[in-house]
Each structure stands twice: as structure tokens, then as C-alpha cells.
């Protein structure tokens, strides 16, 4: 147990400290960092899904005035470590997916680079490939473990026997499509060598992660790599680990005699080069007694991965801890396909993993004749069902109760397709949300007292829109017991001490907890009246007692849906999220995090799907005109509120992270509302109009 830091700046709704830079457009993102005489890179992507490059004819491209060179598998510099096949760009002639980099043009202007790339001729030897996810694929295999160290399978009790004898049963298959993160700032890297030192201005969720990976791949000492990213235009996971373009830019910059290379990945190219969320097929069985109490639950998941690099999303994770049942089982199998490499997208695991199960719970509520909230109340587990650990803070039902009152849940008509207004079928739905508390090791913060009476607080963290610039300043101010204008924060640069990636909703707790440790160490070393130049570094504090608890944030989503009885058009006039996230550092930016997650959940429910054509192995809808995300016109009355609770096991901040829980369960709430409105149960996302025209 840790003592929570007293709050003064913490809990105050400051406007974003980087806000003025953002609203004027003067915050420099990766591509915009000023560099001298840059060269521009444009890649040539493979047009086959599997095979080898037999020949690359660069003559015509190199004849274009302004072209410096065309890099091919034959001419590109060698990497030191090619074991990560996603990153081993231009190291051999094999093609592992359609849209892979097979050549790259370096030219004086972006226009010239692109023109020349179009003139590069590539001859391939194509091989048979597979790009079709099927639940009965004979190549399905069990990965060693899932993302975040999650066990692949789990089993307790006897699901089969309990299911056979259950009074109520639900047995259905649910599916979620592939999705693309699509941060508004496309991935971009600017690379420059100065002798043996490499500087990367990169759009990344973790400068130190990029430094470590690039040093490894290029065979450098970590001290030879500097990564800079003060402002990042969103990431949602796709900028969590460096993708191939970062290596490509660094490699190309070896051929320019010190001139910097700019590689802005185009929106279209992001669909193959910078990762996506795997589609999931979720076979669910729920068995329950007459009163709705679960006696058996099983979830069998099939996902895809790329044959060249495995990513196994931890989709069953929330199913294992959400509700009580003595008999429970999960399995996860992967189909290895010749496709681009999947990776993290906002709430990997929890986000798709709370779609099928939360719709299934709605189906069970209907079968039991219970209100969906009452069903969840009856299945509240006293301890974590899988581990038996006590909850550090489980306030799921308080979220439902507050939400029900605010949303007017009592006006919901239980029988589906009962309410019709002006040709619109109207309904309400709800679903649970959950996200685990994660605090990352490998964090260090440095605090120094400057000549001008300012405390300089440095940690190589990232603000990808989360509000870290502001929240970490607030935390540092309270930890040092000074006003926030006495704190100068430094993040987004590997010159600052090591910091974990902005992911897993862990940033504020991980970096903030480390800043608090450093502040305490600084005061212990230098007292309340330090001399200019006084400095202290400290590592992330350990909290071994946290291992003894199940630490999660919870929430409840409510949605109202209207479906045109004639056209199937579906609208979501109201959404409310109620969350129990521990302590809130900045209410203004926190609300934006919740609303942002819910908005992305609205997109997941209604719009988003990356369509992989199995005939070509290509995501066919690879731009924002065809991959639809929510627009202003889609978001109507949406609000998020929270119940603050004191979690003494969630570090000295008591903040469990808020970046992802908003998306978890939101699509299920909308699908459940759509059922209540229309009587049509849609089990595969997204909820497009055709599915309501049965």
C-alpha cells in the first residue's frame, strides 16, 4: 500500500499547457522539425502478397532530374539484425505481404520522389498465398502467449457438463472486423546522420522504445541514437512500436552524406506499413440458472496474424475476470496469413474482447427475463474469478446505477421493437467497460533546480494527445509542493531519462509515479530551498503489495439508438459513459480522453472495417474516404462522467489510467441498443444499415 500524494494542482481543470501551440498550429510535429536541405523519400510497395523480387529496374527513375538514388534489396545498406522481419527492410528479395517496401526513391523534392517511384519497374516471382481469415483454417495454431504476457488458454471447472445442464443457454458467434488506427498525423520520420550519431524526429508514442529498437536493428550503441518527439498527432497504438518506415528512413539517411531524409508515410501506405487491429471471431457459450446466475462460460477466439511476424491480441482477457462463474474456459488460436503485420490498437484485447461477451450478456438477460443491469448485478464476483485476488477497487455497479439514473434507463421498454417515432425505431442499450491498471517499470525522472528559480522536470515520456504535458506538470508541482508555473517539464526526447511507451493507459501512473519518487528524492537530497544546479534522478518506485490485488478500472456505457424502419440508417442520438478510474489528475483533459474513446467506439460500432480482399491480400478501402471514422455529424449528445475512488494500491497517484476504457464496451452498448430498437440482433460489426433490413 502506498500513501497517496496530497492534491493541489492535481484535480484542477487546467487548460492544456501546450494548447496555444496546438490551436495556432505552431507545435512542431515530426515532419515539421526544421532541418537543412532535406531529401525526400517515397517508397515502392510490392504488388504481390508472397514471393520474391526477381529484378528491380531503376534506370528510368534514376534518370529523372533531382533523383539522388533508388534503394533496392540489392543496393540498400545492410542492417545488423534482421530477425524482426517486419523491420528488415530491403535486406533480401522475399515478399511477405502486399504493400511491403521493395524499393525507395530519394530525391530533392517530394514531387520528384513520387514521380520517380512510379517509374521503378519491379519483376516478381509470385507464390501462392493466403489472406482469408477462416475459423476452420487447418493452419490455426496456439501462440505461446498473448500480448502483454496473457496466457493463451484458460480453464476452470467443467464447462461442458455445466453447459449441458444449465437452465438457460446462449451459444453464438460474434465477430469484429480488422481496423486501422488512423491517427490524424500520418506516421513520419526524419532521419539524419552526423558521423556515427543518428537523430530521428519521429512520430512515436515512445522515444526510448524507438531508440532501443533502432540501435538493435542498426547495430549501434544506444548512445548513438537520439529520438525527438515533443508533439505527436495521435497514435492509438500504431505508434507504440517502431514500424518499418523508421528503419527505412534511418537506412536511407546512410546514403546521403549527412543530409536529412524525410519519410512521411502516406495515408494509403499506412494501411500496409504501420499496423492494424486483427479481426476476431468469438464463439461464446453462456450457461445460467433460471435466476440468471452464470454456471458456465466459454470463449473460443480466432484471430489472424502475419506469417512474417506474430502478434497475438489478448482478446479473452476481460472475459476471464468480468463475471462470476464456477466453470469457465477460453482459447485463442491464430491464422498465419500473408498479410501486413497487425499490432496494438486502442485497448488491444479489452476492446474487441468486450464486444461479443457484452452482447452475449444482453442476450442472456433477454433469455432470463432480466434487466441487463440486474443480470450483471447477479454475476458480480467477490474476488477476481480467475486468480482469487481481492479487487483493489471494483465499482462497476455504482457506475451502472449512476448511469441508469442520469440516462433515464427506467424509460427503456424491455420488449424490443416497441418504440417507433416518425419512422424511426428507438431503443436503449447498455454494456460494461473494464481496463486493467498497468504501471510500467523502466522509468526514471530527473529534477534539477535552475538559475531562474524553476524546477526542471525531465522524463522521456510522450504526449500523443493525452494531455501528458499538462498532467505531468500538475503532478510535478504537487510532488515538489510548488505552483505549476515553477515547473518546466521536458518530455519527448531521449536526452531525458528513460520512460515507458504511452500505451496500456499506463503513462500517467508510470511517469507520474516516477516524477513523485524523484521529487521526494530531490527534497531529501536538497531540502526545500535548493541551490541552483541541484539535481536528483530517481527510478520508478516499486509496490510489491500491488501484486496481491486485482487492479482494474470499470465503467458502464449507455446508448440510445434510432434506426430508420425504411432504410436501416442507424443513428446514436445519445451516449453516456460512467467510469470508475481512480483519481483524476485533470478533469478537463480526462473528460476528453473518455469522450475520445467513446467516439472511437461509436466508429467501431457503426463505421469502421478494413476490408482485406483475399484474392489480392490488400486492404481495399485504404483511405479516409472509404475507411469511415466518425465525423462531427455522427456525434450527437455524448457525455462522460466518473466516480472518483481512492485506490491505495494504484501507486502514489491512485490513478488507474483513462486512455482506453472509454472505447471498451461502447460498441456492445450500441449493438444492444440497436437490438432493443429493432428486434434484430447483429453479432458482427459494424452495424451497417443492410443488417437491419432483414
Amino acid at each position: 500500500m502506498t500513501n497517496l500524494i496530497p492534491a493541489s494542482a492535481i484535480g484542477t481543470a487546467y487548460e492544456r499547457l501546450d494548447g496555444e501551440l496546438k490551436v495556432t498550429g505552431t507545435a512542431p510535429y515530426a515532419y515539421e522539425q526544421p532541418v537543412e536541405r532535406p531529401l525526400h523519400l517515397y517508397p515502392v510497395l510490392s504488388t504481390i502478397a508472397r514471393g520474391t523480387v526477381e529484378r528491380v529496374d531503376t534506370a528510368e527513375a534514376e534518370a529523372v532530374p533531382g533523383v539522388l538514388t533508388v534503394l533496392t534489396p540489392e543496393t540498400a545498406p545492410r542492417l545488423a539484425d534482421t530477425s524482426d522481419r517486419e523491420l528488415a527492410v530491403l535486406q533480401d528479395s522475399t515478399v511477405g505481404y502486399r504493400g511491403q517496401i521493395v524499393a525507395a526513391v530519394l530525391a530533392e523534392t517530394p514531387e520528384t520522389a513520387r514521380q520517380a517511384a512510379d517509374l521503378v519497374r519491379v519483376r516478381y516471382a509470385a507464390e501462392p498465398f493466403s489472406a482469408h481469415l477462416r475459423a476452420d483454417d487447418p493452419a490455426l495454431y496456439a501462440p505461446e502467449e498473448l500480448n502483454a504476457g496473457t496466457p493463451t488458454d484458460s480453464s476452470q471447472g467443467d464447462v461442458e457438463a455445466a453447459f449441458e445442464t444449465a437452465a438457460l443457454t446462449i451459444e453464438q458467434t460474434y465477430s469484429t472486423p480488422a481496423e486501422h488506427n488512423n491517427p490524424l498525423e500520418p506516421h513520419a520520420t526524419v532521419a539524419q546522420w552526423d558521423g556515427t550519431l543518428l537523430t530521428l524526429w519521429d512520430s512515436t508514442q515512445g522515444v526510448h522504445a524507438v531508440k532501443g529498437t533502432l540501435a538493435q536493428v542498426l547495430g549501434l550503441e544506444e548512445e548513438q541514437v537520439r529520438v525527438i518527439a515533443p508533439h505527436v498527432g495521435g497514435g492509438f497504438g500504431s505508434k507504440g512500436m517502431p514500424h518499418v518506415h523508421v528503419v527505412m528512413a534511418a537506412l536511407a539517411a546512410q546514403c546521403t552524406e549527412g543530409r536529412p531524409v524525410k519519410f512521411p508515410v502516406s495515408r494509403q501506405h499506412m494501411y500496409s506499413l504501420t499496423s492494424h487491429r486483427t479481426p476476431t471471431i468469438q464463439r461464446i457459450r453462456l450457461g445460467a440458472a433460471d435466476d440468471g446466475r452464470l454456471t458456465a462460460m466459454s470463449l473460443d477466439i480466432v484471430e489472424h496474424t502475419s506469417r512474417i511476424k506474430e502478434f497475438a491480441e489478448q482478446t479473452p482477457a476481460p472475459f476471464r475476470m468480468m463475471y462470476a462463474s464456477p466453470n469457465r474456459r477460453t482459447t485463442t488460436r491464430l491464422a498465419p496469413l500473408d498479410i501486413p503485420v497487425p499490432s496494438w490498437m486502442r485497448a488491444p484485447g479489452e476492446c474487441p474482447g468486450m464486444f461479443g461477451p457484452e452482447v452475449a450478456m444482453d442476450e442472456l438477460a433477454a433469455a432470463a427475463g432480466l434487466d441487463p443491469i440486474e443480470l450483471r448485478r447477479r454475476n458480480e464476483p467477490e474476488t477476481d474469478p480467475e486468480t482469487g485476488k481481492p479487487w483493489s477497487s471494483r465499482h462497476l455497479m455504482e457506475c451502472f446505477d449512476l448511469g441508469a439514473e442520469r440516462f433515464g434507463w427506467d424509460r427503456r421498454v424491455t420488449r424490443p421493437r416497441s418504440v417507433q417515432e416518425d419512422g424511426w425505431l428507438v431503443g436503449m442499450g447498455t454494456a460494461s467497460a473494464v481496463y486493467p491498471f498497468m504501471r510500467q517499470p523502466s522509468n526514471t525522472a530527473r529534477i534539477s533546480y535552475e538559475q531562474d528559480g524553476i524546477y526542471s522536470v525531465q522524463i522521456g515520456a510522450a504526449d500523443i494527445g493525452t494531455g501528458a504535458w499538462t498532467a505531468l506538470t500538475q503532478i510535478a508541482a504537487d510532488a515538489l509542493r510548488v505552483p505549476i508555473d515553477r515547473v518546466r517539464l521536458g518530455i519527448g526526447d531521449t536526452r531525458f531519462p528513460a520512460a515507458s511507451v504511452a500505451g496500456g493507459s499506463s503513462g500517467t501512473a508510470s511517469w507520474g509515479g516516477t516524477i513523485i519518487a524523484a521529487a521526494h528524492a530531490f527534497r531529501a537530497d536538497h531540502g526545500e530551498h535548493p541551490s541552483p544546479g541541484a539535481a536528483t534522478e530517481a527510478d520508478a518506485p516499486e509496490d510489491p503489495e500491488a501484486q496481491d490485488f486485482a487492479l482494474y478500472s470499470f465503467g458502464a456505457h449507455f446508448a440510445e439508438v434510432r434506426i430508420s424502419a425504411d432504410t436501416g440508417e442507424i443513428r446514436v442520438p445519445r451516449m453516456l459513459g460512467v467510469f470508475s478510474p481512480g483519481r483524476i489528475i485533470n478533469p478537463r483533459t480526462a473528460r476528453s480522453q473518455f469522450l475520445g474513446g467513446m467516439t472511437m467506439g461509436l466508429g467501431m460500432a457503426l463505421h469502421e472495417q478494413s476490408i482485406l480482399d483475399p484474392r489480392f491480400g490488400i486492404f481495399v478501402n485504404h483511405d479516409l474516404a472509404e475507411y469511415h471514422i466518425p465525423t462531427s455529424a455522427d456525434v450527437l449528445d455524448m457525455d462522460a462522467v466518473w466516480i472518483e475512488d481512492v485506490d491505495e494500491h494504484a501507486g502514489p497517484l491512485g490513478a488507474r489510467g483513462i486512455g482506453e476504457i472509454g472505447i471498451v464496451g461502447s460498441a456492445a452498448a450500441i449493438a444492444n441498443a440497436a437490438y432493443n430498437a429493432s428486434g434484430i440482433r447483429v453479432r458482427d460489426l459494424p452495424l451497417t444499415p443492410d443488417k437491419f433490413l432483414a
Partner: protein, 206 residues
């Protein structure tokens, strides 16, 4: 092929020789170092590159610079500092108060778009959400109007609820400054595009 053109960027004349394939957006970002407008898609699908081009909002990635010799371009950076007190544009102030952004990448485009729609509505330009197309004078920026008119500006962080609140506040303030009713003759902000400067609606052009 190259051409020499002059662009009036945020009030400063900038003469440059450029490849005729260069878009206004790339001319600003790559040639002039004006990086306030952002490149999110390069296909006119996201709106991050929105600027005020001769007083009207435009996707600067969709139009070639050579076609705009002599044009006046206002970016979000240029909108700031043009209020009587030299501070942020009221739209920008409202975005800060309502936290109408997270990562900030779409924000300069949102801000230019918002400044644009306030004047478009005052000038009586209808949108898909406008009920009565025969109304004389300005159109009230209801939430439905704001959402419709701002839907060309995507925000992946999902700040729409706050963006609409910010634009509503800025629109109400602009209307107040005009004295209650929308009046094209009273520009809300110095050098902001005005209803009077708006070219006629395409369907009304001769």
C-alpha cells in the same frame, strides 16, 4: 515545369518559384516553412489542411499553388494575433476553454473551418442541415448546423462534442458583436474573413 508565384500568407507577401505540381499545402509546408496547416491525407478527405483561401475555407492539399498566384491565404497561425488585443482568435480561445482537441493535429484545420463557417452562416450560405433555403439574411448556427458544416474536418481523437461546444460559443460571441442579429457588415475579428468578402454561393454565381 516551374513557375514563379506570389502568395499573401498570413499578411506577408511570399514570392517563390515552384514545381507546377506543388499543391498549396506543400508550397506552404515544404517551401515556405508555414506548417500550421497539416497534411492528414493529401486527398481532401480529412480537412487538416484547411486554410482560408481568399476568405473562404479550402482544402489546401486539393489545389495547385500555381493556380493561386496572388491569392490571400490565412492559416490558423495567422488568425491569431489579428484580434484587437493581439491575442488568439475567439475560435481558438473557445477551443482551449472547451478542450476541443487532444493531439492537436486536426486543430488548425478545425479552427480555420470554424472561423469560416461563422462567416458563411452570417452571409446566408445554407448547408445540408438548413431547413428553409428561402430565408433572407444570416443562418443561425444551431448544433445541427455546426455539426454538418464541420463534418469535413475529421478528428481521430474524437473531440467532436467539445469542438461543437467551442464553435457554438465562438458563433454566439460573434453574433453578439454584430449586435444580436447576423450582420455581414460587421466583421467579428479584424482580418477575419467577412460575409462581405465571401464570393457568391456557386449556385448564385452568374
Amino acid at each position: 515545369m516551374e513557375a514563379e508565384i506570389t502568395l499573401q500568407v498570413d499578411g506577408i507577401p511570399r514570392t517563390l518559384t515552384l514545381d507546377t505540381r506543388t499543391t498549396v499545402l506543400d508550397a506552404l509546408r515544404d517551401r515556405l516553412g508555414v506548417t500550421s496547416p497539416k497534411k492528414g491525407c493529401d486527398h481532401g478527405q480529412c480537412g487538416a489542411c484547411t486554410v482560408l483561401l481568399d476568405g473562404r475555407r479550402a482544402n489546401s492539399c486539393l489545389t495547385l499553388a500555381v493556380a493561386h498566384d496572388g491569392a490571400d491565404i490565412t492559416t490558423a497561425e495567422g488568425l491569431a494575433g489579428r484580434t484587437p488585443d493581439g491575442g488568439l482568435h475567439p475560435v481558438q480561445r473557445a477551443f482551449l476553454e472547451h478542450d476541443g482537441f487532444q493531439c492537436g493535429y486536426c486543430t488548425p484545420g478545425q479552427v480555420c473551418s470554424a472561423a469560416g463557417i461563422i462567416e458563411e452562416a452570417a452571409a446566408g450560405h445554407p448547408s445540408g442541415a438548413t431547413g428553409n433555403l428561402q430565408t433572407e439574411g444570416g443562418i443561425e448556427l444551431t448544433d445541427a448546423e455546426i455539426r454538418e458544416r464541420m463534418s469535413g474536418n475529421l478528428c481521430r481523437c474524437g473531440a467532436y462534442a467539445n469542438i461543437v461546444a467551442a464553435v457554438r460559443q465562438a458563433a454566439e460571441a460573434a453574433e453578439e458583436r454584430r449586435g444580436g442579429a447576423a450582420d455581414p457588415g460587421q466583421p467579428a475579428v479584424v482580418d477575419s474573413p467577412t460575409a462581405a468578402s465571401m464570393p457568391a454561393h456557386p449556385e448564385e454565381r452568374p
